[in-house]
């Protein structure tokens, strides 16, 4: 069975550009809508790119701001200035 990298975000206006960036940058991502929340799953790795979020948001955005809309996640985290990556790859 594939290992699933996953992130769950609030389903609100602040999270929407992040959700859209994830959908654009992660081919094969699967979406589970729950009341108030959205869970995004992908085999092995899921990436949030700062540039993709900024492009949709129209302002500068630090990956640490994700804390304001984050609900849950799965995978080993690698966070830096330009990305927030959840992965089971080594």
């Amino acid at each position: 069975m594939a290992q699933i990298a996953s992130i769950t975000l609030l389903h609100n206006d602040d999270a929407r550009p992040i959700i859209e960036a994830i959908l654009a940058d992660n081919p094969g991502v699967r979406v589970l809508n729950m009341p108030g929340a959205v869970k995004l799953d992908r085999d092995d790795e899921l990436v949030i790119n700062r540039a993709s979020v900024e492009e949709r948001l129209g302002r500068s955005w630090e990956p640490q701001e994700i804390q304001l809309v984050l609900i849950s996640m799965a995978g080993n985290l690698d966070e830096d200035d330009d990305h927030f990556t959840l992965s089971w790859k080594h």
């Binding site: 108030g36 804390q67 609900i71 995978g75 080993n76 966070e79 830096d80 089971w88 080594h90």
Partner: protein
């Protein structure tokens, strides 16, 4: 030329390293007396990594923002009489169970992480534990604030702190945390940081809180998701703890495996309460316990344990039993509370036909065969004025402290019953998982404060049920018994009659 801004990784290194020092007035082992007796071997504390790389200044910034958002919602909810817009007043009973059973655990976690942060001698985990300790304090405070609004209208809430230390079923979550906090700091980190936060809290704070949203409780979903955003950091700490211990020394593996097995099973038993909340207590259910278990344990836990296999760590013992129990646990727990509704601080009810049909659909293997007929019989007995109460005090499992109502793996018609003998005394267990935990540390669990034993020993206010309920500070006739006929129901019906009247 302006100095170049440091990158996130550099900032984190500067803000968390070099904060510690070698003590000189006292030897380090005297300053940190608890980080060696458990047998865990650490060669290099500096190998610790916090993948979130959160520094204290950023922590305050983000937490302050989360609080502002949360309290804006709480104010709006109160100002707009949000309590009248929930799906049904039955919903309020999940809040009663949450505040009496879960919120005090947040406070316990605050104390526990303060202790772990004090007693682990590496600076990386100390900083992470400090943040988590503050988070947990925030969680208990925001939960009390949120639910205090409901306390103005609904019964069963006001004595939550008093009840947590006394009421029979609340000893289940309470003893879980007492167990963790009376362990050493490393076991505490595996128990709460790894087994509870990483493997199990998703089940409480994601699908259940989504259920709160679906039932119109925008204040609870907001504190729930706000807390859960901290939990993501805690989960990362939990996974980091386990990787760190396993990388530090091969001798750590068997110790860690034993803790993972123990705390998985302990957590599974406690979460049976959440299973019941999701399957029975949300008037508009969102996801069955079984579905949530598949997503958050089978799928998410499967990915995690596949990853940890490279260290030699195995899937927790009895994970297969727990997965099989996902077909039964919510039904068996609801049956226990229904029978003992006179001694519970929240209301019970038999599900209506639409809800029974939902359960039949969600549990095709078990519900119609084992549980629906019982519910239909009990509903029929209610109609005939013969509502079924269990007036005997139940035997409790010595480890999880839940009444011995669970069934044998593979045989849902036979009660599971295990026992161990120590120093001429017999101790009883609901499962192999609970028996194994006791057998591993009988000196610890032989001392458990078991509510039923304590009642029989005369330590709970008296010899009769009314004496004990009085000692619980239960407002008899309002806090306990069925929803139908309760003051909560009367109030709700008045609100709704008022809405219809005003609309005409």
């Amino acid at each position: 030329m302006a100095p170049k801004k440091l990158g996130l990784k550099q900032r984190y290194a500067h803000m968390t390293r070099g904060l510690d020092w070698e003590t000189s007035y006292q030897p380090m082992d005297a300053v940190y007396p608890f980080d060696s007796f458990e047998g865990i071997k650490i060669k290099d504390w500096s190998a610790w990594e916090d993948p979130f790389r959160l520094t204290m200044d950023a922590y305050w910034k983000f937490q302050g923002e989360k609080e502002r958002k949360l309290y804006a919602v709480l104010d709006a909810f109160a100002q707009n009489n949000g309590q009248t817009g929930i799906s049904d007043a039955r919903y309020a009973n999940v809040l009663k169970l949450f505040l009496t059973g879960v919120s005090p655990l947040e406070y316990q976690a605050h104390r526990g992480f303060a202790f772990a942060g004090r007693h682990l001698r590496g600076v990386g985990p100390r900083v992470a534990c400090q943040m988590q300790s503050l988070d947990e304090l925030r969680h208990v405070q925001t939960q009390i604030h949120t639910i205090s609004h409901y306390n103005k209208y609904f019964d069963g809430i006001s004595e939550f702190r008093h009840m947590h230390d006394r009421v029979w079923y609340l000893s289940v979550p309470k003893s879980f945390f007492d167990d963790a906090r009376s362990a050493g700091p490393f076991e505490y980190m595996i128990a709460i940081g790894f087994a509870f936060e990483y493997v199990l809290t998703n089940l409480l704070f994601v699908p259940f809180m989504s259920g709160a949203a679906y039932n119109g409780d925008m204040s609870t979903v907001t504190f729930g998701f706000s807390a859960q955003s901290d939990e993501s950091r805690h989960m990362t700490l939990g996974i980091e703890v386990i990787k760190f211990l396993l990388e530090q020394h091969p001798d750590n593996l068997p110790i860690v495996q034993k803790w993972v097995d123990k705390w998985f099973w302990r957590g599974h038993r406690v979460l049976g309460l959440v299973a019941m909340m999701m399957d029975y207590m949300l008037p508009k259910p969102v996801m069955s316990w079984k579905e949530a278990w598949e997503i958050y344990f089978t799928e998410a836990g499967g990915s995690l344990f596949t990853d940890l296999a490279r260290y030699g760590l195995k899937v927790p013992k009895y994970a297969d039993v727990a997965t099989a129990e996902a077909e039964h646990i919510s039904h068996q727990n609801w049956a226990i509370f229904y029978q003992y509704t006179h001694a519970a601080g929240f209301h019970t009810w038999m599900p209506d036909k639409a809800h029974l049909d939902w359960l039949s659909e969600k549990y095709p293997n078990t519900f119609d065969k084992y549980y629906r007929p019982r519910w239909e019989m009990w509903a029929e007995m209610e109609k005939q004025g013969k509502r079924f109460y269990n007036n005997a005090l139940p035997q409790l499992c010595q480890t999880c402290q839940i009444p011995m109502g669970y069934t044998e793996p593979g045989d849902p018609t036979t009660i599971a019953f295990r026992c161990s003998e120590v120093d001429g005394e017999t101790y009883h267990f609901c499962s192999d998982g609970c028996k194994d935990i006791f057998d591993g540390e009988p000196e610890k669990y032989a001392q458990s404060w078991l509510p039923v034993h304590q009642i029989f020993q005369g330590n709970c206010g008296g010899a009769t049920v009314p004496d004990v309920l009085n000692w619980y500070r239960m407002n008899v006739g309002a806090d306990n018994m069925d929803y139908v006929g309760s003051p909560d129901e009367k109030l709700w019906n008045e609100w709704h009659a008022g809405k219809v009247r005003d609309a005409v």
